[in-house]
């Protein structure tokens, strides 16, 4: 049987190659996607800074209970632990040391570092290599990595939490812990007293490191610490768990890859499934004649089924053998690109593979064999006598189950569509995405019926445009409705999903930039990575010619449902001259004390009105009740929440303003005065706000690259699948075209007929796919921006329409033209 199957495959090279191509490309895509996600899931950050501890007590995430469901979200600003906890931890039996760790940003001439108290050196540990430990407030020990040519005894300026001070270097230390990551910031150590004094959150600490007495470390001890931590509303991290405490680029990369899987996994899986199933189905249908002959020559239905299974099994096996290693290499390439573009650090390990490979092999085999069995079912069960009669005609019967599931999905999609028009805010976004997938799935399931109905409806149109050729084309479309299912499904998937996701990105980018540009009234922006103090703002406000200036710091808050909202914390004095948030109701003048202004998008999502109270958690997990004083339109350009700086004071990981926006009187040149202020604040720069919005656009385009790469791969795969199907179909039409020409249809008429068919088929696919994309785009864009007409870049139109025309040209019109060069009398003898 195996030999027979292999022979049959070799004989039908065309469909075997087409199937192999669809399978292999699918395996490659699934494999690389899976590898990326698996690496993300497997990534386990190794503890570095806390390597020498047994347990660390910290507060890094928040667990919220909404509607009985628990959701855990990481705290955007990192939570703190009450300093008093240290004493309680010291009472735990077997604990030798409890180290209080506070971390502040420190900027040296040689670069950035984190500042800690001297006792934190034992956490890693750091070892003194030269000089002594700091003993006075103005002394500091430097990590060798930032020391440069500085030696103990030298005096150097250090910017601590935005304030510049001069310190005397007491000694140099070296990180003696395990392999410090290249992105791990170097540390500088002050006296414990000074470290606590400069820490902005008084009475609190970042973490408590617990070190057990030698030999006393035990599970019971860890349990004791955990119990104390839970009582205080914080968490204890032991062993490998400590790794998550150190924010590293590796950890962020791992999260990003997992996120990627959430966003694209469904799309990729759906596409590969439909393409593989469709192509195999078509290949089996093309082989009906062979199979019927075998039945006539006395093969039992079971034997035919087994033959098909073995054939498809062989092809799947081959595709796996080619696809899995290619997928692995493709992932190497993607990794290189991701590293090159700075999405993930070079140190991020790509691990695993066996699990992904097993899953991909299992999934591919299941889909392939399942599709083959379904496609073969009719041929298998047919009586040999009927089999020989039916071979030329395609049977029109289709699975009732498919029809039923298709209609149920469609009903669901329609329900979601109506729902999304009444919903508001983030709920509407989720519904819109659900609607998109449901619609695409419904179309793919109903594709045979859609093709048939479309052919019937298009009949008169094609006839009117192309005359008799159009009439023939309509008849062919009706007859080939089943074969062209893959073309419809692949194109609708591509245009529907691709169009939505791709153009959505464009719309969001454009909207953010447009809102920021339209609402930015300030002409100058002074910004600093280390934070600008109040004094800088005061100095700027005193410059003659300055109408208004305000400091801005970006942070996040957590809403009741665990969602994170972007916040701009400002000094509200003169805000109306600096930015125009497009206030819809309420007034920014009321932004005093525990008040908040929210974007209309967030107001809609949460049902907030001016005067309501919003229950939120600040970046460090502190609950806060904020009075809503205004609702504004430009949330995408400036952030969904605007609060005064007082609301977040003491709840952020570092202090100071990120930038100061300055509005000057027209015609006044304040650049020299601003430069003076900049000189007094190391690490700060002044830019034109127009450049600022330009950079925002660049940043957004940069992060969109990965999305667009994935979309591009998907679109390429779908186009390949459609091309595959159409070439397979076109090349089997030699006999049909020859008979047409024998009965007197001219070559030109045949060509016109093919053009009419293509226009009908591709037109319907584009129309349905485009409608789905438009529906999704309109509902999402309206929710996010309030605009009812989404923006589609001209190049987008060109590439969709041009791509489809090119596809038709390459995959049908050219092969048909080749068939037409064969004289009809020679063509008629050709077997299908």
């Amino acid at each position: 049987m195996l030999k027979l199957a292999a022979r049959m495959l070799r004989h039908r090279k065309g469909s075997a190659v087409a199937t192999l191509l669809a399978l292999t490309a699918g395996v490659v895509i699934l494999m690389s996607m899976g590898l990326l996600v698996e690496s993300g899931l497997r990534f386990e950050a190794a503890s570095q800074r806390f390597a020498a501890t047994d347990v660390v007590v910290a507060n890094r995430d928040i667990t919220l209970t909404t509607n009985g469901q628990e959701a855990t979200a990481p705290l955007p600003e990192g939570g703190t632990v009450p300093a008093s906890m240290a004493e309680r931890l010291r009472q735990v039996p077997g604990v030798a040391t409890v180290v209080v760790d506070t971390s502040v940003t420190a900027v040296l001439e040689n670069g950035g570092a984190t500042g800690h108290g001297w006792s934190s050196t034992v956490l890693t540990p750091y070892q003194l290599t030269k000089g002594a430990q700091p003993k006075n407030d103005d002394e500091v020990a430097l990590d060798e990595r930032v020391a440069g040519s500085v030696a103990p005894g030298d005096e150097i300026p250090i910017l601590v939490e935005g304030t510049a001070r001069v310190y005397r270097v007491s000694g140099l230390v070296r990180n003696a812990g395990p392999r410090p990551g290249p992105d791990a910031p170097p540390a500088v150590f002050f006296t414990d007293v000074h470290a606590a004094a400069v820490y902005p959150r008084q009475g609190r600490v970042d973490a408590l490191g617990v070190i057990a007495e030698p030999g006393a470390s035990s599970a019971a001890q860890v349990a004791d610490v955990r119990k104390l931590a839970t009582e205080a509303g914080v968490k204890a991290y032991a062993g490998a768990e400590r790794g998550v405490l150190e924010q590293s680029a590796d950890l962020a990369a791992g999260d990003m890859l997992v996120q990627l899987g959430y966003v694209f996994g469904g799309f990729v899986g759906l596409l590969v499934m439909f393409v593989v199933a469709g192509t195999i189905g078509l290949a089996v249908r093309h082989r009906r004649r062979d199979l019927a002959l075998l039945r006539a020559v006395a093969a039992t239905p079971g034997q035919i089924a087994r033959l098909i299974l073995i054939e498809v099994g062989l092809l799947s096996l081959l595709s796996v053998v080619i696809g899995v290693p290619s997928g692995w290499f493709a992932t190497r390439w993607v990794r290189g690109e991701l590293v090159g573009r700075g999405f993930i650090p070079n140190t991020f390990p790509f691990s695993g593979g066996a699990l992904t490979a097993a899953a991909v092999v299992g999934a591919t085999m299941t889909v392939a064999v399942g599709a083959a069995l379904i496609a073969a079912r009719r041929t298998v069960l047919i009586r040999p006598t009927e089999a020989l009669g039916e071979i030329a005609v395609e049977s029109g019967r289709n699975s009732k189950v498919r029809l039923f599931v298709g209609f149920v999905t469609l009903a669901g999609a329609i329900y979601l569509t109506t729902l999304s028009t009444t919903q508001k805010g983030t709920a509407a976004l989720g519904t819109a995405l659900g609607m998109l997938f449901a619609l695409v799935l419904a179309v793919a399931l109903l594709a045979p019926w859609i093709n048939r109905v479309a052919a019937r409806l298009l009949g008169p149109v094609l006839r009117a445009v192309w005359g008799d050729s159009g009439y023939l084309a309509a008849a062919n479309l009706r007859a080939n409705a089943q074969s062209m299912v893959t073309v419809l499904a692949a194109l609708v998937l591509t245009v529907g999903l691709g169009g939505s996701i791709w153009f959505l990105q464009d719309n969001l980018e454009r909207q953010s930039v447009a809102q920021n540009r339209a609402g930015m009234l300030a002409q100058h922006s002074m910004s600093s990575a280390v934070g600008l103090p109040e004094t800088a703002l005061a100095e700027i406000r005193e410059i003659p010619g300055v109408v208004a200036a305000t400091g801005v710091r970006n942070t996040s808050i957590i809403l009741g449902n665990g969602e994170v909202g972007g916040v701009q914390a400002i000094d509200p004095d003169g805000i109306e001259h600096v930015m125009d948030l497009q206030v819809r109701s309420g007034s920014l003048a009321d932004l005093r004390g525990h008040a908040v202004a929210v974007s209309s998008m967030q107001a809609d999502s949460n049902g907030w009105k001016v005067g309501d109270r919003a229950e939120v958690w600040l970046g460090d997990g502190t609950p806060a009740t904020l009075r809503i004083v205004a609702i504004y339109g430009r949330g995408m350009g400036f952030g969904d929440f605007t609060v005064t700086k007082d609301v977040i004071a003491g709840h952020t990981a570092s202090t100071g303003y990120e930038r100061i926006l300055v509005r000057a009187e027209p015609g006044t040149d304040i650049t020299t005065a601003l430069a003076d202020v900049t000189d007094r604040h190391p690490g700060s720069t002044v830019t034109n706000t127009a450049e600022l919005t330009g950079r925002l656009a660049d940043d957004l385009a940069f992060s969109a690259w990965l999305n667009k790469l994935l979309m591009g791969i998907m679109i390429g795969y779908a186009a390949m699948a459609a091309a595959n199907t159409m070439v397979m179909a076109a090349l089997t039409r030699g006999r049909e075209l020859a008979s047409l020409r024998m009965v007197g249809v001219t070559r030109k008429q045949v060509r016109r007929m093919v053009h009419a068919e293509q226009s009908g088929l591709l037109g319907v696919s584009l129309l349905i796919g485009g409608s789905i994309a438009a529906l999704t785009l309109v509902s999402v864009v309206r929710t996010l921006t309030g605009q009812s007409v989404p923006y589609v870049p001209p190049l987008g139109w060109v590439s969709i329409i041009g791509g489809t025309v090119l596809l038709a040209l390459l995959t049908t019109i050219l092969p048909i033209a080749r068939l037409l060069r064969v004289p009809p009398i020679a063509g008629i003898g050709v077997k299908e």
Binding site: A298, T300, K831
Partner: protein, 178 residues
């Protein structure tokens, strides 16, 4: 027999009956040799090498065994089909217009071959045909019209058969005129 499942019917067909079709129905992917032993292979039996050799010799394809059907003439292809039908030693071979796609010369060869199977191996052959010449190779000829046997005669010769067929046509025309 109508109680049997499709699988059982197939098993019955392939063990007791051989088929020869007008369109040959050979598997293009397989060589002549493989086509001939295919039914045996499908029924899971080991091909009786001497019998297959004998059959191949009798149809005169010994030097064509490794060719593909597409490399053979129509007559040769039909001979492969006959060899395939014989390979399972069926109790009866049914032929459906076996000469319909062949020229007269080749048709005569194929019919001669079928005749020799009957004479030399005692093989029962039932053949359906429109061709009086083809029918004249049979021991017994039945004329069917509209699903009914209208004549049953021991070999009457090609002319008698042609006459009977012609009368059949005339009778129909008379019916139409009436």
């Amino acid at each position: 027999m109508s109680q049997l499942s499709e699988t059982d019917l197939t098993k019955l067909r392939r063990s007791k009956i051989g088929f020869v079709f007008q369109a040959f129905n050979l598997i293009g992917a397989l060589t002549v040799q493989e086509n001939i032993v295919l039914p045996l292979q499908l029924s899971g039996k080991r091909a009786d090498a001497t019998w297959v050799r004998q059959v191949v010799d009798r149809v005169g394809l010994a030097d064509r065994l490794s060719h593909r059907p597409s490399q053979l003439s129509g007559g040769q292809q039909q001979r492969v089909a006959i060899a395939r039908a014989l390979a399972t030693r069926p109790e009866v071979i049914f032929c459906d217009e076996p000469t319909g796609a062949l020229d007269t010369q080749t048709a005569a060869e194929v019919l001669g071959l079928l005749r020799s199977m009957v004479d030399e191996a005692g093989q029962t052959v039932i053949m359906v045909t429109h061709d009086p010449v083809a029918a004249s190779y049979a021991d017994r000829v039945m004329v069917l019209a509209d699903g009914r046997i209208v004549h049953d005669m021991p070999q009457p010769g090609a002319e008698r058969i042609a006459e009977q067929l012609a009368m059949l046509g005339r009778r129909q025309r008379v019916t139409q005129e009436r």
